[in-house]
């Protein structure tokens, strides 16, 4: 009798074998005539220009992270919303803690100004004043001809 894991194993084996067989069959059948045009990048018929490694603004990264928070939130909240009534107060409080944590994160981002596209005030790092009273100047060489 095949177990449940055995079924998954059979599934994976079939998938891998299928891909290998298709590769071999297409290798047998297809004519291979690579040309320069065929091997170039497909740009809708245009000449490929520039590098695909384009620099993106780092703020997209923050936006993507914020999006990810809500994305995961929705994914986790949907099954919770289906069953939380069966678990009573415990189920509700677990979901509430989760939501409060995410809300705190949201408030933090908001406070830090990550939801604004143009950062309102870029704050440069403040250097602490030191207690140096006497500053030694380096000796200046005189009569230096350039």
């Amino acid at each position: 009798m095949i177990t449940e894991f055995g079924k998954i194993f059979a599934f994976f084996t079939t998938a891998i074998l299928f891909v290998i067989i298709v590769y071999i069959v297409s290798k047998i059948i297809r004519p291979a005539r690579p040309t320069y045009e065929k091997l170039t990048t497909y740009e809708c018929g245009e000449n490929p220009q520039g590098s695909p490694w384009v620099k993106f603004n780092i703020r997209f990264y923050v936006i993507a992270l914020i999006f990810l928070i809500f994305d995961v939130e929705v994914v986790l909240l949907l099954p919770w919303a289906m069953v939380y009534k069966e678990y009573g107060l415990l189920g509700f409080s677990i979901g509430a803690i989760f939501l409060i944590l995410l809300g705190l994160g949201m408030a933090y981002e908001w406070r830090k100004g990550d939801l604004e596209w143009a950062r309102p005030k870029p704050v440069p790092p403040v250097l602490k004043k030191t207690n140096l009273t006497k500053i030694e100047l380096l000796p200046v060489e005189e009569n230096v001809t350039p």
Binding site: I29, R30, P31, E37, K38, T40, Y42, C44, G45
Partner: protein, 163 residues
């Protein structure tokens, strides 16, 4: 070296049977390049839509020429576009077929005499398999052209062509 290179010297029963299988499978899934040029493209879309239903012949628009088997030149080919079409055709994987749809791509159509920017027939750039006349051709006409192309694919052989 693939079977479709057509390098077999003679056609015996194995090759002809394999012919039938390969041709049947190829003509049953002629994927077209997702590519429209002018007003003929509207008719091509109508042919792809539910009323005429190209999908029943296995004609599915593909976004990349690497996956496409046919390209339907649907409309006026300007000189600038001719270069692009040439490249798109070169980028398609062999074996590849071309349906020239409408008078413009057949011969220049209404732009034959005074269209200074129009290519006078796409067959000056790439080899055409089926010409579909009309300005623009109705979806039935394009369907007929596709059936002709299927006939062409059906009659191909793996054996070397006798000169």
């Amino acid at each position: 070296m693939g079977l479709l290179d057509k390098q077999f010297e003679d056609s015996n029963i194995i090759i002809t049977t394999l012919d039938d299988l390969l041709n049947w499978s190829r003509l049953s899934s002629v994927w077209q390049l997702h590519f429209g040029l002018a007003c003929c493209a509207i008719e091509m879309m109508a042919a792809s839509a539910s009323h005429y239903d190209f999908d029943r012949f296995g004609v599915i628009p593909r976004p990349s020429p690497r996956q496409a088997d046919i390209i339907i030149i649907s409309g006026t080919v300007t000189l600038k576009m001719g270069i692009r079409i040439k490249r798109l055709f070169e980028q398609m994987a062999n074996p590849k077929y071309i349906i020239s749809m409408g008078s413009c791509s057949n011969c220049g159509g209404p732009y034959w005499q005074h269209g200074y920017s129009v290519l006078k027939g796409i067959d000056r750039v790439i080899p055409v398999d089926v010409y579909v006349p009309g300005c623009p051709p109705r979806p039935e006409a394009l369907l007929e052209g596709l059936l002709k192309l299927r006939e062409k694919i059906r009659n191909e052989s793996l054996a070397k062509k006798k000169l």
